[in-house]
């Protein structure tokens, strides 16, 4: 497949690995954070870590929208279905994330069931009769709204700058078409502010350099990272999601660290320019504005890190159309997702991994999303030598 197969060539990967081995300084340790779940997935799926010298370590970042969504927002969405009888539309990733509180769908379960079973998810709410629909595109949501004029249709929107422009298109289209039964429960978040929050944390994880986002950057461009690299003196290489992209970008970061440089370099130039997709940026700016702060799972409240609908589009804002109180929700006891999302712990540090937490029965969001570090670890990495024996398949 064009633009994919060329970037997965086995022989080139081996050669790149050799150059990386020749380039690293054996006296030092390299801690590279891959911000995106897409990179985490590539690293595990293709065994990139195993091709790296032992002093090059990947720290998995929080770039998985499903993983960083606070569980209270899932409960909010479930309440929309149970209390307001809306048709709730969302991308498939969100369907299985456990919420923070039990509810109607699970109230009848015997108390002997495991903790997470008493927690609701969109899938359980759907099984209990809620009208929850998985969509591929925001265009599908508009069609559902148009086909069901007597029902309220809410799009449960999540995602970074990649997924935000399609939501903006839908809101503008709904306005043009007069689809007044359509609204958006907006949970879109921003990448650069999360990268800052990781380094500004009271006890920051030690990170030497960043593999920058692929498709987020194809929208926002490489420009927004320039002040970041300068201010924090951390090199950033924007990297494609294919394994050779990850290896080449790691090599570029290692060279920068060896030279004492901290620049923004762009390995993914086939899809990323310095200015990004200006049309998509303009659409986002037209429809959305910054929230003063937003809660990220694992990272806490981060200023200016999320978007909400502007006043001009308030009629399409589900948070204004429906009563949606903030819900404080707790994580499953023992789940290390919050620390894993900060890069402070690895999936194998979690006692639940592979014991009661598996992709079929996820306790935390890092196992739900296929991009989550725990799911990537469980699916591809658990048979490597350094995994705890408790992670054996039951």
């Amino acid at each position: 497949m064009k633009y994919i197969d060329e970037f997965r060539q086995h022989d080139l990967a081996k050669q790149l690995a050799q150059v990386i081995a020749q380039t690293v300084n054996p006296e030092r340790h390299y801690r590279l954070m891959e911000f995106c779940g897409g990179h985490t997935h590539a690293i595990f799926r293709y065994g990139v870590q195993d091709l790296m010298p032992s002093n090059v370590e990947f720290i998995h970042g929080p770039g998985c929208p499903v993983c960083v969504l606070p569980t209270g927002r899932i409960d909010n969405a479930i309440q929309l279905v149970e209390q307001h009888d809306v048709i709730l539309c969302t991308y498939a990733d969100l369907m299985r994330v456990p919420g923070g509180v039990g509810s109607r769908a699970t109230a009848a379960l015997p108390p002997s069931m495991a903790v997470a079973s008493s927690r609701n998810s969109l899938l359980k709410a759907k099984a209990a009769g809620g009208d929850i629909r998985m969509v591929y595109s925001t265009q599908d949501v508009l069609k559902i709204a148009s086909d069901n004029p007597d029902r309220q249709v809410v799009f449960f929107a999540i995602g970074f700058e990649t997924t935000t422009p399609p939501t903006a298109v839908a809101i503008k289209q709904a306005q043009t078409e007069g689809l007044i039964n359509f609204s958006v429960f907006c949970n879109h978040v921003l990448t650069p502010s999360a990268m800052q929050a990781i380094l500004d944390a009271p006890e920051p994880v030690s990170i030497d350099a960043f593999l920058g986002p692929s498709h987020v950057s194809s929208v926002i461009g490489s420009l927004p990272y320039e002040t970041f690299a300068e201010h924090y003196a951390k090199p950033i290489v924007i990297a494609g999601f294919e394994p050779l992209d990850v290896m080449q970008s790691s090599l570029m970061l290692i060279r920068q660290l060896n030279d004492g440089r901290h620049e923004v370099e762009n390995e993914y130039s086939r899809a990323v320019t310095r200015d990004g997709n200006v049309k998509a940026q303009a659409l986002m700016a037209e429809v959305f504005e910054l929230r003063p702060q937003f809660e990220w799972r694992g990272l806490g409240l981060i200023s200016n890190s999320a978007l909400k609908l502007k006043a001009e589009y308030a009629e399409f804002d589900a948070e204004q159309r429906f009563e949606m109180p903030a819900i404080e929700a707790s994580d499953v006891k023992g789940c290390e997702c919050p620390a894993i999302l900060r890069g402070a712990k690895k999936p194998q540090d979690c006692k639940l991994l592979g014991t009661i937490c598996t992709p079929e029965n996820p306790m935390g969001s890092c196992m739900v999303s296929s991009e989550g570090a725990c799911a990537a670890y469980w699916s591809y990495g658990r048979l490597r030598g350094d995994v705890a024996t408790s992670a054996e398949s039951p």
Partner: protein, 75 residues
């Protein structure tokens, strides 16, 4: 969530800004609302039903050349 696939545009309806694209032979419907100047034959990155950007062939070849250079250095 941010995954996007390279797809080749095979058909465009300019009135609705919708196109048909081929992902390794599989036809998908793609909105062109976020991109300008896309024509049949172009490769775009498709994400949640929208073309996010055109893929730059020349830049792709440059990156592949970089890998090849690394190969020369290793041998």
């Amino acid at each position: 969530m941010c995954l996007a696939l390279p797809a080749q545009i095979t058909d465009i309806d300019f009135a609705t800004q919708m196109a048909i694209a081929s992902v390794d032979g599989v036809k998908v419907e793609v909105s062109l609302a976020l991109v300008d100047d896309v024509k049949v034959g172009d490769y775009v990155l498709v994400h949640v039903g929208y073309a996010l950007n055109k893929i730059d062939e020349e830049e792709a070849l440059k990156t592949l050349a970089l890998f090849a250079e690394a190969g020369l250095a290793a041998s």
